[in-house]
Amino acid sequence: MLKALIKSRLSAIFSSLTQGSKKKNKSKVSMVLLMVLFAIIIAYVLFAMGALAVALCFMTRGTGNEFAPFTIAVLAASALCLFGSIFATKTQLFESKDNELLLSMPIPPKYILISRMIALVLVNFLLEAIVMLPFMAVYGFIIGFSPLGAVFSILVFILLPFLTLALSCLIAWLVSEVTSRVKNKTPITVILFLLFFGGYMFLCGSIGAFAGEGGFTSIDLGGLKNSLLFYWAGDAMAKGSGLSMLLFFLCCAVPAVAAYIILDKTFIKIVTRRRARTKIEYKGNRESVGSAFTAMLKKEIRRFFTSSAYIMNAGLGNVMCIVLAVFLAVMSKDILQSVPFEGEMVKRVIPFAVTAICTFIASMNLISAPSISLEDKCLWILQSSPVNPKDVLMAKVCAHIIICTPLTLVSMVILCIAYKLSVIASILAVATSLSAVVFTAYWGMLLGLKFPKFDWQNENVAVKQGMAVFGAMFGSMLFYMVLSVLGFILTVINEYLGFIIVLAPSIIASVGIHFYLINGGCGTFEKLKK
């Protein structure tokens, strides 16, 4: 029975990655493109991890700090596992649509829980492997394992996903417990996840600080000994220390057992609990009238702000933008003192640098990309209504722009004031960052229309997976990375040239996509699901 449950969970995970291939030839093409994109991303991450491992291994070889590469690897792997699986953990455990069906069958609830946890552990193993395997391979090649160190390395590799699973289960359990008792579920969920992410980033930052203020030198890396379980993992792997292995084992096993016990005791209660909802009586208020376009625009904005998954996966760039702007503003004096330029070059480079950062972060918002996929079962409403498909698409683009513009604008204004940009530079900086918002909205819409994902069971899949989301994210990031590099080079020639080289392509590309959407895009929308 348990085997059948595990098999069904794994096939569900696998089909969520491959289901697009079941449809038409076009989907086969998109599947191949998606696989190529996946391969590029994984190859890039493996290469980056390998390069970091090579640097750290050479830096620490023979210094007594050989544990440091593994400590950093375990830290990075745990962060990747947590950030990559926490939403999946919440939805797979507590919001899965087949929970009630399975509970109505003669299946022990613990089997349902265990099958879900095993599937999540396997996802964590995959994410962990991307970081840990390059480090282990490079370490073995450059420094070499002791026999016990090799055994402990395998043990750490096996244990780490249980720790991250335990943490994500506990966070998901906490969020589910809290949100099942409150009325405004979406903002509370977003705040709790932001607090968790913020706390984890702070922890990582603090561990980074242990490495010393002088930067990552072999001596400074010794400071990582204060990072407790991450150090114990590194020490066990590098030196084969039994005590460190035991301590790391306890750090993984205790939370994992605790998480299982808590979930086992509360699983049925949470999944069968009716959400707390204060009944609001409709009193026949006079309803306001708006145009069809305004109605669709308001619908898109409401959809975004009522879904914590949509906000956290597609709109996090907004939060990052403002956090980064405040951070850069507070640190402006230190940053200006530490830049490797002087005089006129500072005046030229800094305005473009802060704009490029803000622009890059703004391009990480993906609100328009999954908006077509999110229509899915409700697509019939728009397709059977007397609305021009052009208005449907433009409402989605405008919703992205309206949601992202305020925080991008505020961030840019903060940076302009903090770094005392000239009036012309300020105008160009604001225009450049806003052009990124507009381009990202159009680019996301284009990919969302070309590669919609209509076979999801959970909203998370629509906003996190698929060609549209991946393409929008990596495409716009790559676009602005290349433009920023070109901009830096041209800033040396003229202080405003860098802005122009980012601004002009953004506007031209946005205009081009706009004309495509209102012409060919309408036909594509009309043919969706037909």
Binding site: R275, R277, K279, I280, E281, Y282, G284, N285, R286, E287, S288, V289, G290, S291, A292, T294, A295, M296, K298, K299, R302, R303, T306, S307, K377, C378, W380, I381, Q383, S384, S385, P386, V387, N388, E526, K527, K529, K530
Partner: protein, 246 residues
Amino acid sequence: MLKIINLTKSYGEKRAVDGLSLHVEAGQMYAFIGHNGAGKTTTIKACTGLLDFDAGDIYIDGVSIKDDPIGCKRKLAYIPDNPDLYDFMSGIKYLNFIADIYGISAEERNEKIKKYGDMFGLTGELAQPVSAYSHGMKQKLAIISALIHSPRLLIMDEPFVGLDPKAAFLLKEEMRAICENGGAIFFSTHVLDVAEKICDNLAIIKDGKLVVSGKMADIKGDNSLESIFLELEGGDNTFGKDWENA
């Protein structure tokens, strides 16, 4: 009001609808019945502009849905078999959304929301999110959203599924009222008793082909609709062919 001419639609090798022709005139209530997978939903979706078709044409009030899809959609309302509505909206927000789409004035929408909300017992629940609605409540909301813009043609796919007896009765009353006011109704159903009692016209589809269509009284004569339907569905279509020849 609704004219389907030689409608043909295939899914790969399978012909879901094969050369179907049908004419629903103003004032008529037309039932569309057939076994599961016969092609009812495909025909209905093609009539509402939700599905492309391979051959033939569909006219709404004399206008081809291919030539002026938006104009045709403005005249009709569609209620699907499974009312998937925007879960993130409240009932009243959804009704306002539909009213905005169809350009309904403030006075008219307020009056209609009150009228139909009270009629279907949904007024008190309109401020609740759609995600909190039961299947029946969603069905009622879909019906109200269809009626709010006074459609000339109402196309429904299994409209009585999930409705409580009172709501089903009220819907039938409203369907009659639409036909009396010069509108037309075309709906699919498996509830043959309902079709027999309220419809003056009937079409039976089997394996994508129209088996029989015409006046209810002419088709069933002294028999029950159930016996006629079972006879036609039994594989021997001579009865239907007789009617087509008649």
